[in-house]
Symmetry: C2
Subunit: 338 residues, 2 copies
């Protein structure tokens, strides 16, 4: 048990190794400009003393902190009620720590002011932003500060920065196509918020599938939800009221699909005999519903990892392209509900 406070410094290592401070610094930072012999002496001293570099001192002079921030700008409830975030965070965490950097977590529920003060190049090397709504000015603000930024999810058109997304369009198309293949003709959708890329794209995929199959794209069969379970329940109710003849519904996420399931049960409709249901997200919830929910799986963890890696690339500047993007594939999971 060493004394808590007095950890060895660079000069102590230097003295011990019988070299100058600069040389130790070179060894620590892996500079090739050091003879093998000296390097060994230094490494020995480092090991003996249990030396660990003081990050604050290093950050002060290099103006880099080796820390990246993850900003989740989402309402309190949704951040964790949707397993989506959990997976993304896990992937990001893995990617960031694999690069030997630290992840600073910022849940920005509304009041972003204190946060903005912190999101500057002197505190952080880059920012990961997840679940952006509408035309949030934050990413652009950060970019004008010279901070590398990577978004999770497709940003509103017009944004010129980097992002990683999953194939929402393709996933939705596959889900609806599956319904069509099973002979469904009147397929409604409970869409996501129009101010989010995921909402827009899943709706687009729904339309694309209908069009591809030569089915009419009836606007009356589209009801907008907000990704919450109650919104799904209400949407399904109104759908059932106006269009009792529908035989399938594609919900833009699992939570809303579950709400729809409830509404269908309340209305005495059988699933999938009367009405087939497909959701989106492949959340754990989808396995425990009755019947289990068919849904579209998105590789959330990979998404997080890719975000981290893209950001680190931007930070190290290995490729100057600050508006690169990646879209990860999604996959339909068929269960008893469709």
């Amino acid at each position: 048990m060493t004394a808590p406070t007095d950890r060895p410094t660079l000069d102590q290592v230097a003295e011990r190794a019988g070299v100058g401070r600069g040389t130790v610094s070179r060894v620590i930072n892996g500079s090739p400009q050091v003879s093998a012999h000296t390097r060994q002496a230094v490494e020995a001293a480092v090991a003996e003393l249990g030396y660990v570099p003081n990050l604050a001192a290093r950050a002060l002079v290099t103006r880099r902190t080796d820390a990246v921030a993850l900003v989740i700008s989402e309402s309190e409830e949704r951040v964790f009620s949707e397993p989506f975030f959990a997976g993304v965070v896990r992937g990001i965490s893995a990617g960031v720590s694999a690069a030997g950097r630290q992840l600073v977590l910022a849940l920005a529920a509304g009041e972003e002011r204190p946060l903005e003060r912190y999101l500057t190049p002197q505190h952080i090397d880059g920012v990961l932003l997840v679940s952006l709504h509408g035309d949030d000015p934050l990413p652009e603000l950060l970019r004008t500060r010279g901070l590398p930024v990577v978004l999770g999810g497709r940003p509103p058109s017009g944004y010129g920065g980097a992002y990683v997304d999953v194939d929402n369009i393709g996933g939705a198309r596959a889900g609806v196509a599956h319904l069509i293949d099973n002979g469904r003709k009147r397929i409604a959708t409970i869409s996501g918020p129009r101010d989010m890329g995921a909402g827009q794209d899943r709706l687009a995929g729904y339309r694309a599938a209908l069009t591809a199959a030569g089915l009419a794209d009836d606007p009356a069969l589209v009801v907008e939800g907000d990704f919450s379970e109650v919104s799904g329940l209400q949407a399904m109710r109104s759908l059932l009221a106006c269009h009792p003849d529908l035989d399938a519904v594609f919900a833009a996420n699992d939570l809303m699909a579950i709400g729809a399931l409830r509404a269908l049960r309340d209305a005495g409709r059988r699933v999938p005999e009367d009405v087939a249901v497909v959701g989106f997200d492949d959340s754990p919830l989808s396995r425990v519903t009755d019947p289990p929910l068919s849904t579209v799986r998105q590789p959330v963890e990979e998404m997080g990892r890719e975000m981290a890696e893209m950001l680190l690339r931007l930070i190290s500047g290995v490729d100057g392209d600050t508006h690169q993007s990646a879209v990860l594939p999604t996959e339909l999971v068929v269960r008893a509900s469709s």
Copy 2:
């Protein structure tokens, strides 16, 4: 759009305000040793220049970083499959940022070595540890380094540090008592891992309720699971095989309760007519099962918040008591399954 890199420094503020550097520092740090007049001048200059203190420089001299680490030492899968963590993280995040500090997130899946290098007083002011298993030496190690530590969940006996827990014993007791009140006589339990406080305590609560009601505490009715759904399924199967006469089961968490529900359905047992089920956690999953799961709600978010506040108290040293603890109440939620 200011130039990205050259943010104002303390001296620039000092010059602008026509005072010395030290004075600006005092104002920034809220020292009372400054005349109202000077303070105003400085504050004006700060506002005009948009000055933000350089944390690295400050940390270098104060030897504090204003950052606390959250270490979740849990297997990849569980961290986020259980909503428990989500809630705790949210509470912690709120508590930490309310104090103007940053939260550094570290998911320690097994390989803790790189992490340990980082968890030192020169990088972090304190550590929050969640989901400790067995007798992990990490908390003691950190404490010998002089780092304030707060644990989430009761530590193994013998640990002398601070922690926050929920009333697992009371919650389990209430769940089982409810079963007894409804006339159940042969109540089995699927317990959690024996190497975790939560597992031990929920089992203790189960036993306490039986004893209090004068029922026999039959060891054969206790099967250990690992908090996963499949373990619950298997446990229920073996329970059913050996004790077909059981009329209720208390599962130490919702995931295992869901597994049990499945096994019961597979075995043709009706819930709750034949066998009543109670879980623990009040996860969102518990609402969508068929039938909806009765379960014990734990205030996870409050737990996180309390952890953060306790740690900040330890850091600021307002009370020297480093082995304080808090236990938050739990609450039974009765649904159709019991």
